[in-house]
Amino acid sequence: MAAALVISALGLLGLVAFITALVAGGLAALAAVGGLLAMFVFLAAVVLSLVWLERKYLGRLQMRMGPMRVGPFGLLQPVADAAKLVLKEDVTPAWVDRWLFWTAPLLLFLPSYLLWVAVPFGPGLVLRDLDLGLLYIVALSVVGIVGILMAGWGSANKYGMLGSLRSAAQLVSYEVPVIIVALTVAMMAGSLNLSQIVEAQRPVPYAVVQPLALFLFLLAGLAEVGRTPFDIYHAESEVMGGPYVEYSGAHWAVFYLAEYVNTFLVAVMVTLLFLGGWKGPGLPPVLWFLLKAYLVVGFIFWFRGTFPRLRIDQLMALGWKALVPLSFVNLVLTSIYLFYGWPWWGMSLISLAILAALGYGIHRQAAARKPAITLVPAVEVRSAR
């Protein structure tokens, strides 16, 4: 009798413990889902703001007004665009491979959303402070290529096919310098945890210690998201939108969303790895973080408004003959430097010297090249006749 009582009491206790754990786990999971939803809403707001900023900024660069009609200063233009995309017909061409065609946007978007689980916005302000945060982000950022490839192949369209192949070659090539430069930063911080990397930049941000690495990371990151100087895989005048050519309506909107989220991710990674993250005087940390990230985004848009598109051979040459060797040299130099424990300013001097030599070399080459066409004023042509 007593034994039965003890056993049933133990069983009851176990049951209570089990239910408590279940409820606690469920509550925690609910909290996590709430955080994830908040992150999704935040990212959607960021994308809307980026679309507006880019159109307005490019318009100003080209001496136009940019969006003006919808809302004050055209602020509601991206909202109107998003509403339009949802209301548009989602055409599925007859020849496509339906599975690939339909799942490709998801496969591009999901990794670019999953990344944000590990991105810290301030001290402790992160969904999950992963110890392998940098590795996690670098690893997931490559998965999107599969989505693009699937989109291009699944469309059964020549332009889509060509664009997706180009994207595979380009994104894969520029992934190498991104990884190596991220490694250099991890080496200096002695950690792969993004919060710790930011904390390691307390005296001086790594942009000062390693200007060359910042330059390499920004260039390779731009190519990685296919922003304009490096956008041959979805260039309108060459492959008509490349892998996205057959998409319309909500499917196309998801591609667009992923693209802008990735652009913002590059800005955020530059902020975290090189600009000292949320560190700054006066303002609250989150504001500093967003300020820096939007500054980098502004640079990215400026690039788009300034530089002409690269050809594919130039693009691959820049990736494999310039960025990959330079990033490796930088890695080896940094490792030697850290191994012997020399002061940080020496590293920034070396980095600056390499960057200056690079700039001078490019300048020499550009100056030595003779222009293919000489422009002659009309007056001289008439007098020569």
């Binding site: 020549k158 889509g160 050519v245 494999w320 003959k321 490792s335």
Partner: protein, 122 residues
């Protein structure tokens, strides 16, 4: 939610579910709100009005494979570099020199490919 590796990657899994549902919601809205009118011409691949022949799934130039293989080499090597980068200051000096040798071999491979014209896009 408790810390730990399992809990961390449980959140990643939850994020996948949340992201999937959000996108599915958007597709559903599109499905319900947008007009749908099928027509044989709409079903053709876009080719600026030119009849889409031959079919798009054809042979692919070999140079794409060459770059994919190069990437694979460097990516696999990065897997070895990640733990090394974090730990080489705490480990024995031989770890540091060994990785320099490894990087040297790798860069020699890149220079060899460069000299052989593997990096030229033609």
């Amino acid at each position: 939610m408790p810390q730990g590796v399992t809990a961390n990657y449980l959140v990643v899994f939850l994020a996948a579910v949340v992201g999937f549902l959000a996108i599915a919601l958007m597709f559903a809205a599109n499905y319900l709100l947008a007009p749908r009118r099928a027509s044989p011409l709409k079903g053709l691949p876009v080719e600026c009005g030119i009849p889409p022949v031959p079919f798009a799934w054809t042979q692919i130039n070999i140079r794409y494979y060459a770059f994919a293989i190069l990437f694979l080499i460097f990516d696999v090597e990065a897997v070895f570099l990640f733990p090394w980068a974090v730990l080489f200051l705490k480990a024995a000096p031989v770890v540091f020199y060994e990785m320099l040798v490894f990087l040297g071999i790798l860069l020699f491979g890149l220079v060899y490919g460069w000299r052989k014209g593997m990096l030229v896009w033609r």
